[in-house]
């Protein structure tokens, strides 16, 4: 089985040089994305087949990589599940790019790296030894870096790519140490050997922290998220969708693989760290998202929020697993994995929508958009579905996974540890807060972009996007709806994954009447997406019918009330900043040191009054800026080392060698 997957990856790898060769041809875009679409679809179907039919792991060892190790690859249910997520996202992005890629300014900067990037993400999930894992991980970072810097003429993009490269190498460094610790002094880098050897408690805790830092920096855990909102929007939109929707999930995979599989039985207090980080990430992510004006950056910050939610569920699953509560652990892990799947769907959808808006109007600034629902009705419709899903409203899929998360949180009183008993409800409150704020955030994103009147000439002359892009968005929107109304099928498909990692599984859902889902027991809670959907559809239609038939079917057009202002310029509309103001006043003064400075012109002057908002990124100021300054100072001090004589360099090397040997000789 794993061999077939590797063939698919090979096909993607081969596509990269072909793309280089073709780059001069005008058909290159169509060919490369078409081929990516086909390969990704095949890999998706293969992974789905493996997930549903073959719970046993299949392995293969290739004579690549380190000579005494070889390259191990393996598909078990966990990697099969993540393969489906990756390749579904990849297929959607390729389909979208069939249309979107035609607007690309320099396609030769994107085309070769896109298939390589897809191949790298697949390889990370397939890898079964530390060496191949890290090589694929780094390959993934580098290819995505190349995609981030595709549009390198913009200063902002270059800065984003630079910070991304730094953070990616830092994360890989942490993972390198994590695997080094797990492999131990004898260096058993194959995952089989690591799985068999359970490290000591202290080592395991250190590995967990390193894995959190390494995988978390890629996934966007606060405070390691700094690169994400810069890099994700900088890439072309289909790549942004992949980075946000899929690559962060690969990072989640890395964490699950280490924490649930390789590291052996968990300690209960591991979950404290993961839960705290998850909760903080969720709230911080959505608060940042609410403060942004750039549509793609809003989406990137919202990814951080969702990653926080996923990590909080993972922390819960760790806690339950540590106390041997398999059913509860299975519930929490299912919630996390389902959210991984759901988030990949709607975040890709939203980024595609943002990409369509970007090509139609040339801007991502929400203050320059508006009224697009008239110009781009279909994009607006699918974007609305994406917004509803990510705001966790029933009957769409976002609700199901968040509801399952809260069901798992409600089981926390059964935990024996007091620390967790107090911690979990607090994290639950944070998640609830972030869910509410996320809804506000997406009301704002949708309202400012698509509703009201156009705030710029570009927005008032926008054109609907092309059919390929629309097809990709409709497909994802349909997937969101299906996963929302028939969640039982998805939960059952996750059963082998959860079974392998926690030792338990949720009750089988497909047999439940009326296609409800019952996470624990019928008496406790159940949810029926189909009924909710049917109810909403029926009541909606009845109401519409009643209004149009029984009341008046005439459409009346009248002047809009301009709040008493005679000048009805579009700029007097409610803006993105004004929508965020109440939330900024409540949370912003604490979290962002937000300050509003009102400038009133003196009486008699005709100058406009101004309201300036100042936000400070405290995490950047307190964590990243000092590190940057310290590195600068140290580099300044060490600069003279660049100008030594040849003999001084030789002497330095020699002295270093002799000192190291002396240390080795004296070391007990």
């Amino acid at each position: 089985m794993v061999t077939y997957a590797l063939f698919g990856v090979l096909a993607l790898v081969v596509l990269a040089p072909i793309a280089v060769a073709l780059s001069a041809s005008p058909n290159a875009t169509g060919f490369v994305y078409g081929a990516c679409l086909i390969v990704a679809l095949i890999l998706f179907l293969l992974a789905l087949h493996i997930l549903l039919e073959y719970p046993a792991a299949s392995t293969v060892t290739l004579p690549l990589g380190l000579p005494w190790l070889g390259a191990h690859f393996r598909i078990d249910p966990l990697s099969a599940f993540f393969l489906t997520v990756i390749n579904l996202g990849a297929a959607a992005a390729s389909l979208f790019a069939l249309g979107y890629g035609r607007h690309e300014e320099a396609p030769q900067r994107v085309l070769p790296f896109f298939p390589a990037y897809l191949a790298a993400m697949n390889l990370v999930v397939l890898a079964d030894d530390a060496f191949s894992f890290l090589v694929s991980w780094e390959f993934m970072s580098l290819t995505s870096w190349a995609l981030v810097i595709a549009n390198h003429r913009v200063d902002e993009n270059r800065r984003a790519a630079y910070i991304y490269l730094l953070m990616a190498s830092f994360g890989t460094l942490a993972l390198l140490f994590a695997f080094g610790l797990m492999a131990g002094a004898d260096g058993h880098y194959a995952f089989d050997a690591i799985r068999a050897a359970h490290p000591a408690v202290g080592t395991a805790a250190l590995v967990l922290i390193l894995a959190l830092v390494g995988a978390g920096s890629k996934a966007g855990l606060v405070p390691l998220h700094a690169w994400l909102p810069l890099a994700h929007p900088a890439a072309p939109s289909h790549v942004s969708a992949l980075m946000s929707g899929v690559m962060t999930k690969v990072a989640v995979y890395g964490f699950i693989r280490i924490a649930f599989d390789l590291l052996g039985p968990p300690q209960w207090w591991w979950s404290l760290v993961v839960l705290a980080l998850g909760g903080a990430t969720a709230v911080m992510g959505v608060l940042y998202a609410l403060m942004q004006r750039d549509l793609k950056r809003v989406l990137a910050y919202s990814t951080i929020e969702n990653i926080g939610l996923i990590f909080a569920s993972l922390g819960l699953a760790l806690a339950f697993k540590a106390y041997g509560m398999e059913l509860a652990a299975a519930l929490a892990l299912t919630a996390a994995l389902l959210h991984v799947f759901n988030h990949s769907l709607f975040k890709s959808l939203l980024f595609f929508g943002a990409g369509s808006v970007l090509t139609a109007t040339g801007t991502r600034d929400m203050e320059a958009l508006g009224g697009l629902i008239h110009r781009m009705p279909q994009t607006a419709f699918v974007f609305l579905i994406g917004c509803t899903a990510i705001s966790a409203l029933p009957p769409l899929n976002g609700f199901v996974s968040e509801w399952l998360t809260f069901q798992a949180i409600l089981l926390s009183p059964q935990l024996p540890s007091w620390g967790l008993k107090l911690m979990v409800p607090a994290v639950g409150a944070l998640l609830a807060l972030s869910a509410a704020l996320a809804a506000a955030c997406f009301v704002r994103a949708f309202g400012m972009t698509f509703l009201g009147r156009p705030r710029s000439p570009a927005a008032s002359t926008a054109q609907e996007t092309d059919t390929n892009s629309l097809a990709a968005m409709y497909a994802l929107a349909a997937a969101c709806l299906i996963a929302g109304i028939l969640p039982g099928i998805f939960i059952d498909a996750l059963a082998p994954v959860v079974q392998a990692l926690t030792g338990g599984q949720m009750p089988v859902q497909t047999g439940v009447e009326w296609m409800s889902i019952v996470p624990i027991a019928e008496s406790r809670s159940s949810y029926n997406g189909l009924l909710v959907f049917a109810f909403m559809a029926v009541t909606g239609m009845v109401t519409a019918f009643a209004i149009h038939r029984l009341a008046s079917d005439k459409i009346r057009r009248g002047p809009a009330w301009g709040c008493g202002y005679p000048d009805a310029s579009p700029l007097t509309q409610y803006s993105a900043s004004s929508f965020a103001q109440p939330i900024r006043r409540v949370f912003g003064s604490l979290v962002f040191r937000a300050r509003e400075i009102g400038e009133m012109p003196p009486p008699g002057s005709s100058a406009p009054a101004r309201l300036t908002v100042q936000l400070r990124d405290l995490i950047w100021d307190t964590l990243y800026a000092p590190i940057g300054i310290a590195v600068g100072v140290i580099a300044e001090r060490l600069n003279y080392l660049q100008f030594l004589t040849i003999r001084s360099y030789l002497t330095l090397v020699f002295a270093a060698l002799v000192i190291l040997l002396l240390v080795l000789a004296i070391w007990p």
Binding site: F643, T645, R647, L650, V658, L661, A665
Partner: protein, 220 residues
């Protein structure tokens, strides 16, 4: 691996260290080149003996490479360069000879202590060989650090490589790839550095490193 076998291998590796010491106190370039040829010759003998003892015919190739290139071709070529540059009578020393020798003795002691401790589980011949090889490497480095003539730097570098070859052949079962790559790296280094010598000479009329530093506008 006992008795006379061990003794001969030990003697050859030990004499390589001895020749390294001889290199340290040669302050004339032509004499230094002779000693380097001797160094390579001892290495070739040692490798050939290892080939005989380990019954590994591919090591004969390594020995042959060492003999032809390092003991004959490179010293002859370097001698021609030196004569051409007119520096074969030049005397140079940065450190005092006595100090350099003392330092060298310290390095040999250090490599013995380190290697014999680290490889306590290995085959005794390989242990001794590795310890000697490390000494040769360190002495080669020491020579590179103490000399200021570019030609002596080249020789120091190549005697360092000789130490690496000794280490590679001392352990049983090293594939030939290692030796060939080492041999070629030396050859390439020789070519590159040889070209550099000419270029430097063309530009600055000297191969004295201090002169180059002066040209870079720096003081020491």
């Amino acid at each position: 691996m006992q008795g006379i076998t061990f003794d001969i291998a030990h003697m050859l590796a030990g004499s390589l260290v001895l020749v390294s010491f001889m290199q340290l106190y040669q302050d004339r370039l032509s004499a230094l080149l002779n000693i380097f040829a001797l160094h390579a010759l001892v290495l070739a003998m040692s490798v050939a003996y290892q080939a005989f003892v380990q019954d590994a015919p591919h090591l004969y190739i390594t020995a042959l490479i060492a003999l032809v290139f390092k003991a004959i071709v490179i010293p002859v070529a370097l001698r021609r360069i030196v004569v051409k540059l007119g520096i074969h009578r030049e005397i140079e020393n940065v450190f005092g000879v006595g100090l350099a020798m003392l330092f060298g003795i310290g390095l040999v002691a250090l490599s013995m202590v380190v290697m014999l401790r680290v490889t306590s589980a290995a085959d005794p011949l390989a242990r001794e060989d590795l310890a000697f090889a490390l000494s040769v490497v360190l002495l080669g480095l020491l020579m590179m650090v103490t000399r200021r003539n570019a030609v002596s730097l080249v020789i120091g570098f190549m005697s360092l490589e000789n130490g690496l070859v000794l280490a590679a052949t001392g352990a049983k079962g090293m594939p030939l790839v290692v030796e060939i790559s080492v041999a070629f790296s030396v050859l390439i280094a020789f070519i590159v550095i040889g070209i550099f010598l000419f270029r430097i000479r063309e530009r600055f009329d000297t191969v004295d490193m201090q002169a180059m530093d002066r040209f870079r506008g720096e003081q020491r």
